[in-house]
Symmetry: D2
């Protein structure tokens, strides 16, 4: 199949590589040229404009936010010049509003649009082990399903309205942020009573909370190792903000998301924008004055 791929960041390069390895013909484009070489080495063609990548049966987008997606699809003219038969697969975590607008614009042009945000860190992307939440019109989803299976361990269909996949992704990221806040506060409490974070988190993530979120982030918190970031505070805040906006748009109060929002801003204000968002645990320690108390 002829595939275009736009956005070769930490996540995108692993995903694109899996599509290339699956034997598809790839045209790739990225804002900076660095990561393109990796893909070319796997047989992909480097193109000089987003519109050229779109000359394909499926166009994958792995971009950082609403603005980046709009810039590529609308302002660069990708959508306006898209060939008939194209299906756009948007892997990005975007807002509900943007998802709805894009769905509408694609429908108006007769171009397929599938929202397919993913759960997983860069290593899962490289290993083709992502969890892919999928929403879009049935026919469009069917066309790209084999491609999604090449990049993910499992597909999770949630209906035909594309924004639903984005809501699931945002709600999921909100749940991760909540788990980080809970671990941070609980560890601050434990430490104030002389129990170190590693001991405490071992008990929990070895029993009731034996899940990747608690084991992986728990290890970062126990080691106070927030750099390099798998997912930085800055992007975490963006996603919690989008979850709150989704709630706002449907009259759903989200007090826990609000609380996490403020903790993330507090982390930002303390200079942690580029640290892993597990650094929420630092905020909890600082509030308790435990960053200054001798251990």
């Amino acid at each position: 199949m002829q595939i275009g791929f736009i956005g070769l960041g930490l996540m995108g390069r692993g995903i694109a590589a899996n599509l290339a390895r699956a034997g598809h013909r790839m045209r790739v484009w990225n804002r900076s040229s660095g990561p393109v070489a990796e893909l070319v080495a796997l047989g992909a063609e480097a193109v000089s404009a987003p519109r050229e990548a779109a000359n394909a049966e499926a166009l994958f987008l792995m971009l950082s936010d609403d603005d980046a997606v709009r810039s590529v699809l609308i302002e660069s003219g990708v959508l306006a010049s898209a060939p008939p038969g194209l299906t756009v697969v948007n892997l990005a975590t975007i807002s509900v509003l943007c998802a709805r607008e894009l769905a509408e614009r694609h429908r108006a042009r007769g171009i397929g649009y599938v929202a397919a945000p993913v759960f997983g860190r860069p290593d899962a992307a490289a290993a083709g082990k992502l969890n892919v939440v999928v929403a879009g019109e049935r026919a469009a989803v069917q066309r790209v399903e084999p491609l999604l299976k090449a990049i993910g361990e499992r597909l999770w269909p949630v209906g035909e309205a594309p924004e639903r996949a984005n809501v699931v992704k945002l709600a999921g990221n909100f749940m991760i942020a909540s788990a980080l806040e809970a671990m941070g506060e609980a560890c601050a409490l434990a430490r104030a009573y002389g129990i170190d974070a590693a001991t405490f988190l071992d008990i929990l993530s070895g029993t009731l909370f034996a899940a990747p979120v608690y084991r992986n982030y728990g290890a970062l918190i126990a080691a106070e190792r927030y750099e390099p970031a798998g997912f930085p505070v800055r992007l975490g805040l963006k996603d919690v903000r989008l979850a709150l906006a989704a709630g706002d748009g449907a009259n759903v109060p989200l007090p826990l998301a609000s609380l996490v929002r403020d903790s993330l801003i507090e982390a930002l204000a303390a200079g942690a924008a580029e640290r892993d968002w597990a650094a929420l645990a630092q905020v909890a320690l600082r509030r308790a004055g435990l960053d200054r108390r001798t251990r």
Copy 2:
């Protein structure tokens, strides 16, 4: 070994049965006589006062709160008349203040005191699969270790100060409550966009959140099945209150625990005192008016 056991509630009866089956001589006492018969059938002796149960090498307590523990140990004269060589094993979830006071009183009388709160629901208690957090003076802990192994899948030692085990238990229960609040809010958001709770929770508890807390409580939330309660709102509120008091006593702000406290009180005010604390999800739905919106 000669063992006394006081408190044959949903948890206590399973634990006591495992000790009896392990071949120990048991003297059991309970406020109401109903559950005593089960233990007698396993060879235990029913006694008519807490002090008689304490005539043993180890005395287990599985009571509901600080008041019940103080009533039995202090007011009923158990501690005052305890035989030399007794080690008290307190399985109850009590406050940090009460734990410290009890440790001090036992020390003054030369009686061993081990805090051993457990994680696990009644079925785990019956199956001897609890996770037991243990704290107390080394010698006392060693004396009762074989008994704790008979009731738990794993022991988690956290030091010599008994209140540490209680802090771990309270912090752990706070984390469960936080997970419930997060699931509740996330499901309300999902549902407002047409995604049912079962679909949403399957995705999360099948991937990043594949842990007992999310799978078990997620199933209750998806089915909106809050009765009979495994652990009722009323007791959940008690434990979150104790976690907040522990934070207060050590200058640790716990904004997420505060948020959950208020949600649990809101559940109580709506008549859910005896529903499972997973009913926090109902509070989130009601706030969004989704309990009244047609689906």
Copy 3:
């Protein structure tokens, strides 16, 4: 002086009338024609497009939000065709981002821009008793100062960067919302102990809290009279959202604004969009189940 006035809602009509009565030549425009007649009766000229109103020395805008302001100034071509010497006076409560963008656009066109959001309800607007927060370049502010004195009891200058006036207005509205939430929760607590809201609020607003916010809104809460709205939940939520966005844009966590945001959304979800935002007190009662308890 020749003045244009756009936006004759509940607030705008009173303000415009005061300018007309002060003897200025007015050209007025409003989306719907109803309120225009009142002004014409005071000697104003009704014009058929925003651009005609802008043919003046000063152009006042009293519009509901960012979109309405952008629509009039940018999309209707007001700014593009503004005559040299015009000073735009923007009375609307808009976002910091919009304020900055507008300041920049006016500067580029050489048109004066003064932000002058007001505190006060419609009756204060009609009486010329508003409090006007003013920010803009010194010369521009000086040109319109006599006009602002005609509509307000007092001017509060806060510097040259226009967005500062908007920040003060948003922070002030956030403080009002916080006072409403506090009164709501305090009254729920009082009522649960048999003290009615009127008695409780009399004590507070007669002593430590003897200020218009507490007296005026306190009277609404005591009487549970939320309609007609002086300022509806819907607009209150808009302003708290803008305060949060202002905080987000400058790394300032605002946990209390977040809390109020969620309470306002809860009010919306309960159907209170068009009730006065003092209806926050209803949310507090409902959370405590006091809307259902017999009194």
Copy 4:
């Protein structure tokens, strides 16, 4: 009238002095002897035990908390040996539970009990300008009314159940704490945009918020002058904790009180226990990193 007075702290000495100046015969007792001399100079008799002070027609208590009140009334034997005809007037801010227990104990002994917590700082106490919230059985209240008028500007009766007066006091202090949190957050927001706290608070406390709470505390916040404390963080936290307990006891969620609780604990953890509780504004600045940003 023969009056006993126990508790000559910052508030108590001013109140007792006003009773002495009104011509009553006073017997005073205080834990430390320092403040007693002042009263003796006004004609009061210093006694050596609380029980001696109680040998009177009315006994005033101005103590710091539940424990101090219980220690004096119960443990020191004041209530047990109280003469017939005594009416106890409890000015302290105590918990609802303690108020109920005391009312019950006095009733059982046939001793009058009036709860009369006050609003006002030490200067208002010295000037006899307190606002006194009064609750108790009608006859008991009538007996002490002339005395209460000697110490307060105004009496606010709220019924016969004594705990009601305490609820009003706790709810009022919660409202003050909420106002401090709101001012703190709003000032942090203003300052992040270059507006100093003094300018911002002048606007608000000169208009909508023209009340003592905003003017007095606003001045402290604008000047960042938190020492000496009129009312320290430590006691503020105590009262917010009691408000939360009152809510808990009647199924009233108080999310704003919870938020303030955590902010006060954060202040404590930063070493502000003895600063004025207006230091909540420092917490808001620190969260935004504005304590470190150059101005």
